[in-house]
Amino acid sequence: MQLVLPSVLFVGILIILPILYNIYLSFHFVSSYDPLHPKFVGLENYLHLLRNEVFWSDLLNGAIYSFGSVLLQLSLGLVIALFLNQDFSGRNLLRGIVLLPYLIPTVCAVFMAKWMLDPVHGIVNTILHPVTGLTINWLGLPGTAMVSAMAVNTWRFFPFVEIALLARLQTIPPSLYEASEIDGATSFQKFLHITLPELSGVMFVVALLRTIWAFNDFQLIFILTGGGPMNSTETLPLLAYREAFDNNNIGMGCTVGIFMTLFLILTFALYFKIFNPLRERE
């Protein structure tokens, strides 16, 4: 019992206490210059956000960003996991290489992307220019900035999907495939009727986790675009930071956090209702 005490203390003081403190602060005005004297304002922060157009467009941006990134990660992760489950020499080396982006700090991934996407000196435009004849300012236009953010997110985090799916692929008993071969199934039929159903449980969990993490992501977008151009890539975590420090009200930032949690819970509930693979098996 005493052995677990330090863990409980750390988690209690630095995770549970801040969550409760956050709820308390969301009903207060807190200046970032004078954070020790919160002023009670009731529901004012909540009402301000609900009436604020930027809040709703940031929510939409966050939904697009998470949904787009997770969709790309799932498709890429699935294809590469299926490929790395095949037998060929050099496979283990490639399995190691694929894990690399998950190890590379987000700051580095973002700066590498910025360097490659630079409108004048970037390699991407250099390669595309002869084809399209355009010099695209990737991070300077609303649409392409969002796509770039999704691309960086996908490159950085798809290995997580790939490892999870590959681990699950290795546990599918070969006898299932052998039996279907005797029945004359094609490779595509085997994929559709054996592989996909077997993977659905892991895919459900992985998609859920990655959606949550993309929705909560602050660092990647903040460094890549800072939310711009014209708020087109601003998501709720960035709004929270902006309200807390640029607009000088930490309480408002905390209220954004509360709304994010509520949206996440709502999405969870909906997601379980639509996709829950555990229920289908019954």
Partner: protein, 275 residues
């Protein structure tokens, strides 16, 4: 004929996958070796015509980069063992004893990673300012340990669960204490788990930006991610400094990964022959 075609497709796919991952890293590395005039040349050269290391030298001599690097290293090297020191006994207790609230605590750990970081970050900022810990390395170390604990407790818990209690009981019949049983029997058998927790903690510290942004103001206390962004702002589009900085920030992770991956594989093999 068909076999040849399959081989061709397989290695084509392997090449595509590898280049998707490696292109940004290799391109950054190549450009970091070019002189300024060549970095900005249009069209760009693939391999540097002139290889220079002067950007690396300048980065280390004329900027705060060494300070950022040492700060990240220091925070990482304190956070990692501290996390393991707290998590190992904690996870052991979660698997070997029963008490009220144990299962609730374990379940909460699982959900703590779904909480938005800023939901914790802003109140943590307030907490740290109350404790007068803002703008110190201690504020980072304390909060990073707290962030690493849920994952490490969970991983170590599953490792400890797989070790039969009878092993420890036998040792304790022979006169070993509970702590000796943990240190001499359970921990060595959980080596792969301890290593993955260690890597997790260090990589988290090396990567973490958001909390550092909230807590740290002084230039000489900044960690690498924070320092790199500060860099970008101050010397606008000075890619000559930024590109080598990216490479130097990735390098230690690659080295650790290569060493540890071999050790992990060896560990698994040893386990397999024993079994």
């Amino acid at each position: 004929m068909r076999k040849k075609a399959t081989r061709f497709i397989t290695y084509g796919l392997a090449f595509l996958t590898a280049s998707f991952i490696l292109t940004p890293i290799v391109w950054t590395f190549l450009c970091s070796l070019k002189p300024d005039s060549e970095i900005l040349r249009y069209p760009p050269t693939v391999l540097p015509h002139t290889v220079i290391l002067s950007h690396y030298v300048k980065l280390l001599k004329e900027t705060y980069f060494p300070a950022y690097f040492l700060n990240s290293l220091l925070v990482g090297l304190i956070t990692t063992p501290l996390t393991l020191l707290i998590a190992a006994p904690g996870a052991y207790s979660l698997t070997r004893f029963t008490y009220r609230g144990r299962d609730i605590f374990a379940t909460f750990l699982l959900f703590s990673y779904m909480v938005p970081l800023l939901l914790l970050g802003l109140p943590m900022f307030m907490l740290m300012s109350r404790l007068q810990l803002l703008n110190t390395r201690a504020s980072l170390i304390l909060s990073y340990v707290a962030f690493c604990l849920p994952f490490c407790l969970w991983i170590l818990r599953s490792f400890f669960l797989s070790i039969p209690k009878s092993l420890e009981e036998a040792a304790m019949v022979d006169g070993a204490s509970r702590v000796q049983a943990l240190v001499k029997i359970v921990l060595p058998l959980s080596m792969p788990g301890l290593i993955s927790c260690g890597i997790f903690a260090f990589v988290l510290v090396w990567n973490e930006y958001t909390l550092a942004l909230l807590f740290i103001r002084s230039e000489h206390l900044k960690t690498l991610p924070l320092g790199m962004v500060a860099f970008m702002g101050r010397i606008a589009s000075q890619w000559g400094y930024l590109l080598p900085a990216i490479i130097l920030m990735i390098a230690p992770l690659l080295i650790v990964f290569m060493i540890v991956q071999r050790a992990l594989v060896r560990g698994f093999l040893a386990g397999a022959t024993k079994g």
